[in-house]
Symmetry: C2
Subunit: 208 residues, 2 copies
């Protein structure tokens, strides 16, 4: 039967395309619901908004933590993928600063989400792996941005990308580890980043 | 028997004084041996150098980790206790910087020791408690030093002591968490501290 034999090799490819479209929809829906509800985001609502059944959602993301990890690592990849473009915009002397602010904001939100889920007894799939892969992506973006900032002479000449990443990681870890219940984590992190940028940048492109 | 009845109430006090002298001797010996041999320091050698038996040492410090924790928290207390005096020396405009450099050096050494012992399978007695008590001591010292630095106008006027401590903690945690096998942890930490101090201090009292 020629029709069947023609469609058979195409079927797995079509199934893969369907699956990828579903994953994409689920992550977009999760992005929206998590922005509104944080760690309390309802997985059922995410499935509904994505237009998929709960079974489909759980097939791709077996746990709430798996879904959150995919969401936050996707956001970070997008932030870092955008860094190259940002770095080379003619009028973006502050590209490194803009990226660092976005990274701090993202990392503090991810940290808060992780803490909330951990308090609910949910366990991160592989903290070491997640950290290492996030770090590698961030370092690549930082290299792009620092190189361009050096070229434009908007940053001290002796700085290295891995030092910028160390400082970024340090800010987020300090906010996570040193408790100040009366201060907002994101405001604290922004402030620490400001203090650091004042030492790194030769002219501050944006005020704080 | 009058002699016995006179000596009896004094005995517990004398035993306490003996015990404290022994603890002091053991910690001084540990300080010396650990400076030379790091995490491989022999507990037997420490007892010998202190002039006490191994049984006495183990009665006061039941494990190698207990001894190291006492040694490093003692060093940190000494560093922080010295901060008040340092802050008020007439010619010490760089007191905060001197203290921060000493703290970073101390914390990186303590971190290395902890990592080495952990690799040997030794477990820290209570990481949360140790961190919290160290933090409280550091914050008190930083408050003294920052207040004086503000008074002398050698630091940006909007800085707060808890922010300085956050940055200090961040430097040490980043060096611990982000691996750079080809770089010395203490050199990395000094460099990150330098980058931060360039943003905080209005005039650098010492070069780097």
């Amino acid at each position: 039967v020629p029709v069947e034999s023609a469609s058979t090799p195409a079927a797995p490819r079509r199934r893969r395309a369907d699956a990828e479209r579903n994953i994409q929809r689920i992550l977009e829906a999760a992005d929206e619901v998590v922005r509104r509800d944080g760690a309390d985001a309802s997985v059922e609502e995410i499935a509904r908004l994505a237009g998929v059944g709960s079974a489909t959602l759980y097939r791709h993301f077996p746990s709430r933590m798996a879904l959150m990890e995919a969401l936050f690592s996707g956001r970070m990849e997008a932030l870092c993928a955008g860094a190259r473009e940002l770095a080379h915009q003619a009028d973006a002397d502050d590209a490194l600063e803009v990226w660092l602010r976005a990274m701090v904001s993202h990392l503090i939100e991810a940290q808060g989400m992780l803490a909330a889920l951990t308090m609910q007894g949910v366990v991160e799939s592989d903290p070491e792996d997640n950290f290492a892969s996030g770090l590698a992506i961030a370092l690549e973006a930082a290299e792009e941005l620092v190189e361009e900032a050096l070229h434009r002479e908007v940053i001290r000449a002796d700085i290295r990308a891995h030092e910028v990443v160390d400082l970024l990681v340090g800010v987020c870890m300090a906010v996570d580890r040193v408790r100040h219940p009366e201060l907002q984590p994101d405001r604290r992190a922004e402030r620490l980043l400001d203090l650091i940028l004042d030492g790194l940048l030769l002219q501050r492109a944006t005020g704080s």
